[in-house]
Point group: C2
Chain length 557, copies 2
């Protein structure tokens, strides 16, 4: 009989920030019982995934072993941890465990996709726990930028694992439980086999600041404002919303919340009892009629998202509100790399309106939800794990985190997505590389990132598209001319004819010279025409377009 | 007779960073004689300009008044100041004035486009000057991140203007003339009408650091390295290249320069006598055979450009060189907003190879070429201009710069691209808005940004493309079926047929129900088919594709 082993396998989130999806397994080699931690998404961009709606981990490896998978555990309700649950649950039809706030969001994700929300089970905070095959899993509260974030305490026959999820050390997180070193020490009092640890902020050299440090500066800022005040932050940062709203109320302003995601998060936080003292708000329909200096609006769109409140205000009007000279707009957020251009577009639009834009350049109005390097070290020192496995980070983050562990004499390993790590040995080591990758929600269809569909769209974006249609008669002779339609292509400079006309001419010239073996073969014709289109495109406008050829043959009769 | 006036008109660079192009005019209103300062480009991105090669200011306003334009002055040889010269000179066939290094690059730009390089005239540094209509223009040396940058001292009948170009205050710039407050004071000793001033770094709160501060840290870094050392910076930063190369030589390493742009800049700087003591280099063919610890390579691609040296090394091999564990890669540069994702991709690829990546997070290995806020104030105070016109910056930068001037009691104005400012009055004020915008070099054709060509490509990238072809016989009846070709579109989930087949079916169904008036009208048919394609796309895969319809009608005979 094969010996039992404990494995860790990241399918998403290791080698990137976002799209978290991790697997643990215990049992005989190749026949382990498995659990899944988080089913997150990441977001598309024009460079690599134009037109895509959402990106998630390819969980094909799990689906092939679905009879061995016990359950899904969700650490917290951020999109990059729970966003793919509804989309994947059709194939991963498993019980889901989460704390109440996260469970409420998880149920919404399932309902959105027409799945049964009753598979979600609520779990109380550690020391409560759930048995799932050989694993017993507890939810240890941690501070982050969303309520009820949890580290998982995973007991296995081979020892205890702490999987941190996303976390920071905050002794006064405004909403939720403060960091308590003693309870962490208690978790590790009988020894900790492995700490599987968030690496997002490993390059931030100074200790992280508490959410509570923002209340004063934000209150001062709002109190000093004279016109309308609008603030944005991440919709799920309920503690921040509370701080912002309280600053508004303290400055004698009524609070209006705009944006579906933000309203939903507040509603769920109130319904689950996490948020008990959010200031009273005013209906958004009333906002346009209120005196500007008595009003503070909280809106979505801190990352410059096209359809969110911030972008709509920058475009001119949103829910009847137009910003103007003397108003203030606060980004209580940081700009995630890749979103700089979108955010700057909004800032400049506000600048043109005369709106004073306040961002977090001075660090006064935003703190990160992730543990910085010294905080990571504090946790390492508190828990003193035998192994440290860095997760949730780009490769450079995982590498740096592993280096820190090595400096402390803790055995570590860099395990990007697809690298299966065995934790039952003298050191963690990669024992297998499994196929991993990305799936796209494209429109309403799930496709593979490498299916070629998105690649074709990128090529059209770069090179344009040419469609060619022609009719060939019963004698294999062209009937009428060749028809070319270009899309997204310029016409050549200084020519009387359009690119399409010049392509038609060029193709017809080629056809006249082609032999019968070409005219009778659709494949040969298509090749000849495609080659002509690319060559003429390159010569006349410097582009080699995508090409589709449609040959209509008349059949005798 | 209309009174004479002095005008300033930004056509590019005001309301953005990049694509600099400014106009000054003096003479009777509406009949001023004009000069152009800089003809720069900016770079495309997938979000707004996929497939575009270069972006430049629309100079249509100048072309319409070409008989009134005297000359073009180039402040320095960065792409965002000189890059469009060759492309625009066909329509702006004017003498070009620049200092020798800049002139050499300007000539290359003209030659690349098959234009006559002899239109470029070399001008010595201030107090030398050139007369151009009512303007006398001198080139006042300033420090920047490329040799021979100049502020223009523009004498007009209405008074003196200083147009800073891009600049910083550097008393030890490694290459070129140090900042000398007395010579600046001298320029303004008889009073300065207007300072038209770079705003790029107006949000940087601390005084800028000198290029010379980098030599020590870079030398220490290279001396401490054990494997191969590769460093990248902006190809045109000749001073930095010298510092990097010297650090290599001092550590006993041979220097190899790789990348066309970098070699060209060094060659031009040497040919124009600016760079006299660049260390000897080794041919790149010899690099693969040299001991790694005796070699330092300088490469292009500090912004993650796909084809440049850094990206190629990240992909595996470049000119016979492959990086590996123990090597070091230094980014002696900052990442320009929008390039974060490309640069991070490279950093992570190096991380996977085990290469130590050093970037400028600690500020040790790169300094900016632009004046920070305190430096701007130093210049304001030295020159004490009557008017301050902020240029080269996004709207938020111009606004902040104008605010600083206002705080000093200097009259200012925010003039984004297209805003014509009159400088002959009690305060600078916008007197007219002229049509401005962007032109794209798309393949080898110049197109307008709003021509719809790039918009169509973006739509294809987001929504895919469908081409429909059909044959209609002499009796206005479809002959054979409808033919649909999809491109960049997924097939619907859980269906036996492809999207193209289902669209064919759906269109044929619609055609059967359509009356004769549809079948006889190509417009009506096209509308019916396009509508059916979009509707079916939306229903089956959640996408409304771009559509091209090609109806082949057989004519009787």
């Amino acid at each position: 009989m094969a010996r039992d082993r404990l494995i860790y396998l990241p399918l998403g989130g290791a080698g990137e920030i976002g799209m978290n999806c991790y697997v643990y397994g215990y049992g005989p080699e190749g026949n382990e019982r498995l659990i899944v931690v988080d089913t997150g998404v990441t977001f598309p961009d024009m460079d690599s995934s134009p037109g895509v709606n959402l990106i998630m981990a390819d969980v094909g490896w799990l689906i092939e072993r679905i009879d061995r998978v016990e359950a899904i555990f969700i650490t917290h309700a951020h999109e990059d941890h729970v966003g793919a649950l509804g989309l994947l649950h059709g194939q991963l039809d498993l019980p889901v465990h989460a704390r109440p706030f996260t469970a409420a969001i998880a149920r919404l994700k399932l309902e959105e996709q027409g799945r049964n929300p009753d598979v979600v089970h609520e779990v109380a905070a550690w020391p409560a726990s759930v048995q799932a095959g050989p694993f017993r899993v507890g939810f240890m509260p941690v501070a982050h930028s969303i309520p009820e974030s949890s580290a998982l305490v995973i007991d296995t026959p081979a020892g205890r694992i702490v999987h941190t999820g996303d976390f920071k050390l905050d002794t006064d997180p405004v909403v939720g439980e403060p960091f308590d070193p003693d309870s962490w020490k208690d978790v590790a009092r009988n020894g900790l086999l492995a700490l599987v640890c968030d690496s997002t902020n490993v390059f931030s050299p100074t200790p992280g600041r508490s959410e509570s440090t923002l209340a004063g500066p934000i209150a001062d800022l709002v109190r000093g404002a004279s016109g309308l005040v609008v603030a944005t932050t991440f919709a799920s940062n309920v503690a921040r919303l509370k701080t912002l709203a309280q600053a508004g109320v303290d400055a004698g302003r009524s609070i209006v919340v705009m944006g579906r995601a933000m309203k939903r998060m507040i509603a769920v936080a109130q319904a689950t009892g996490i948020l008990t003292d959010f200031p009273p708000t005013v209906a958004q329909e009333d906002a346009p009629r209120m005196p500007r200096d008595n009003l503070m609006i909280l809106v979505t769109g801190s990352q410059g998202e096209r359809r969110a409140g911030s972008a709509q205000l920058a475009n001119g009007k949103y829910n009847g509100i137009t910003l103007r000279e003397g108003d203030m707009f606060l980004f209580s957020s940081k700009t995630i790399p890749g979103n700089e251009v979108s955010v700057n577009r909004i800032v400049n639009a506000f600048s043109e309106m005369g709106v004073e834009v306040v961002d977090d350049c001075d660090g006064l109005y935003h703190v990160s939800g992730h543990a910085n390097r010294p905080d990571l070290e504090t946790l390492h020192d508190l828990l003193r794990p035998r192994f440290l496995v860095p997760m949730h980070g780009e490769h450079r983050h995982l590498r740096e985190h592993a280096r820190i562990a090595a400096d402390k004499g803790i055995s570590s390993v860099i395990a990007p997505n697809g690298a299966m790590v065995e934790l039952t040995g003298n050191a963690p080591r990669v024992v297998e590389h499994v196929e991993s990758g990305r799936r796209y929600l494209d429109g309403n269809v799930l496709i593979g990132a490498l299916d070629g569909i998105v690649r074709d769209r990128i090529r059209m974006a770069l090179n344009g598209h040419v469609a060619v249609s022609m009719v060939i008669d019963e004698d294999d002779e062209p009937l009428g001319g060749v028809w070319v339609e270009t899309h997204g292509l310029p016409d050549p400079a200084g020519r009387e004819h359009s690119l399409a006309e010049l392509m038609e001419e060029g193709i017809e010239y080629q056809l006249q010279r082609a032999g019968d073996h070409v005219m009778t073969s659709d494949d040969a014709l298509e090749e000849l025409i495609t080659r002509a289109v690319r060559k003429i495109g390159q010569e006349l406008v410097g582009k080699r377009p995508e090409c589709r050829v449609m040959i209509n043959r008349l059949v005798g009769g």
